[in-house]
Amino acid sequence: MINPQDLCTRARDLLASGEVRAVVGYRRGSRGMAAEPVVITKPEEAASLVWDPSCVHNLALYLVADRKRLAHLHQTPGKPIAIVAKGCDARALVVLMQENYFKREEVYILGVSCESTGVWDDQKLMQRLGCDSQSLTGGRFDGDDFVVTTATGEQRISAPECMADRCLECRHPFPTMNNVVLGEEKARTLAAPFAALSRFEEATGTQPARWAFWQRQFERCIRCFACRSVCPMCYCEECIVDSITFTVALDTTAAEKANRVRWIQRSATRSENIGYHMTRALHLAGRCIDCGECERVCPVHIPLRLLNNKLEKESREKFGYEPGVSIEIASLVSSFRDDDPNDFIR
């Protein structure tokens, strides 16, 4: 089991020795036991870092933000930046490196192993405890359990009861690409891969049932773009399906702006929302590493993970492609095999 204190010490040493210029990690915020992302640059700030089941965020996003910020300021990174990374986060980094977004040496990966558990899911906490992490006053890992403190006192709950689906199904709880890892690599099987997806596919076996379900979901989307904004793989300078990242540089011509393709309209109607989500899912095929962030942040609880998982499963079964395992290989859609499925073609 990881002693959170070790994390603080590591981070402090890294900063103190000048080995890294900053550490991206988690700290306690003002909302109960909900951790929040933080970027620290001073050794003395390291004491504020935490590691507990509320560390849900995929911090790779902040490396992307850091890089964009530096590019904007025309600065070169210099020393590497350290990041606290779970298994999934580390795989996000692998994809980012596979896509040349970073060089390996630009990032110091302070891995944390999820060992036999993972992070929690607020909705499951809500069901189990009647309140979510924002109302808890304590929460930590303890072996296979979470120990939480509610208004009524401390409670021990078996972690799988409240763990995020993606953690239950996780096949890589150990950050394989790392500079150092806290915690052990444990063999574990909590749920079959794609279990939630399979449950869904079984429950909505027919085409009308599928549509009935997704129609509701897509009509609900308010297109706040949180799902895209939080995704470390959606680091495009300008997203092709939203308008909010419209980039204009000095050399952007009027014609370029005038000719920007509007694939979907700004209206959050069903058709446009589908356009948005389909595009995003397809863009993430072979790149999404199932950190589940998009689904977690959605304010109207659209089960986006199902979309990404579907393509992940197809890619794995049909193309033998697993995202986030190698920096070297060509990405899913820029490669092919002779025996890719052909039977859907006439």
């Binding site: 011509t253 009027a254 702006k257 005038a258």
Partner: protein, 279 residues
């Protein structure tokens, strides 16, 4: 236009026909001047410095300064720089095409308060358009004002808009043109507008300065004007924050508590310097 079922609909444009198009400045960021006349007996009166929301249907709306004098009742004039989606659509228009127009918006220059004063106009690039109606009005009501000086500069001689009109203006006003870099055959000033201003150093006595242009230029001009002794409340400029509704609702043009589309775009430096620098 169809009668609105809902009475006064602030979002519904009137229709106007383009009756004249003139290319002022060529190139990638070309500027064209459009004269339009309202259809179906529509129209509105405006003050110098006010703006209108112009639309090319299917492409969208843009806020554009009304570049004609309020004294010209039979048409409205706009000088539009090709900048993006909507403005490009404008540049693709031909005489006879119909556009949408709603307005007038914003506060306008307090021209009447300036009676009996010297007027110093300082414009750069496309920034001549918003102050052009003031110049026009001042010329039409020439006796109301004393000395009129117009500073204006472009990157090159080709970038000078209203070239012919400016030459004509020389008969009633002092016109000081400049280009950024020395050019063959250029007889005016070479250098940036603020430098030209310092070179000519117009007197701040009983004078109002009106400036408009790119944000950096304005910054230097205001600085120089103050060095020349202009009081903060005798310096006027306009702010062009992004606008969508022009009605103080859509929420993007605000600087501090002010919605520029309603409280602006014209500000005296005395007022503007109280606001946070979000423009």
């Amino acid at each position: 236009m169809e009668e609105s079922k809902m009475g006064d609909n602030i979002y519904l444009p009137q229709l106007a026909r383009v009756i004249h198009i003139k290319e002022e400045v060529p190139g990638e960021r070309s500027i064209k001047t459009f004269r339009v006349e309202f259809l179906n007996g529509g129209g509105f009166d405006h003050e110098c410095g006010q703006c209108a929301m112009l639309s090319v249907f299917g492409r969208g709306e843009s806020m554009i300064s009304i570049a004609s004098s309020p004294l010209d009742k039979e048409f409205k004039q706009f000088s539009i720089m090709r900048a993006g989606r909507v403005t490009t659509a404008f540049h693709d228009l031909e005489v006879g095409d119909v556009i949408g127009i709603r307005g007038p918006y914003g506060n306008g220059f307090p021209v009447d308060d300036w009676r009996g004063k010297n007027l110093v106009f300082i414009g750069g690039g496309c920034g001549l358009a918003p102050i052009w109606p003031v110049i026009q009005t001042a010329v039409k009501r020439r006796d109301d004002f004393k000395h009129i000086t117009v500073f204006y500069g472009g990157r090159t001689a080709r970038d000078i808009m209203y070239r012919a009109e400016l030459e004509k203006l020389r008969s009633t006003a002092e016109v000081c043109l400049s280009v950024d870099k020395a050019e063959e055959g250029w007889e005016g000033f070479c250098g940036f507008v603020p430098a030209n201003l310092m070179e000519k150093a117009p007197s701040s006595d009983n004078a109002i300065a009106i400036t408009c242009g790119p944000p950096v230029m304005i910054k230097f001009v205001i600085n120089n004007l103050r060095n020349l002794g202009f009081q903060d409340d005798h310096i006027y400029t306009t702010i062009e924050n992004k606008m969508k509704c022009a009605l103080g609702k859509c929420g993007r043009c605000n600087v501090g508590k002010d919605y520029v589309c309603v409280k602006g775009p014209v500000y005296s430096w005395a007022d503007l310097k109280e606001l946070p620098p979000e423009y």
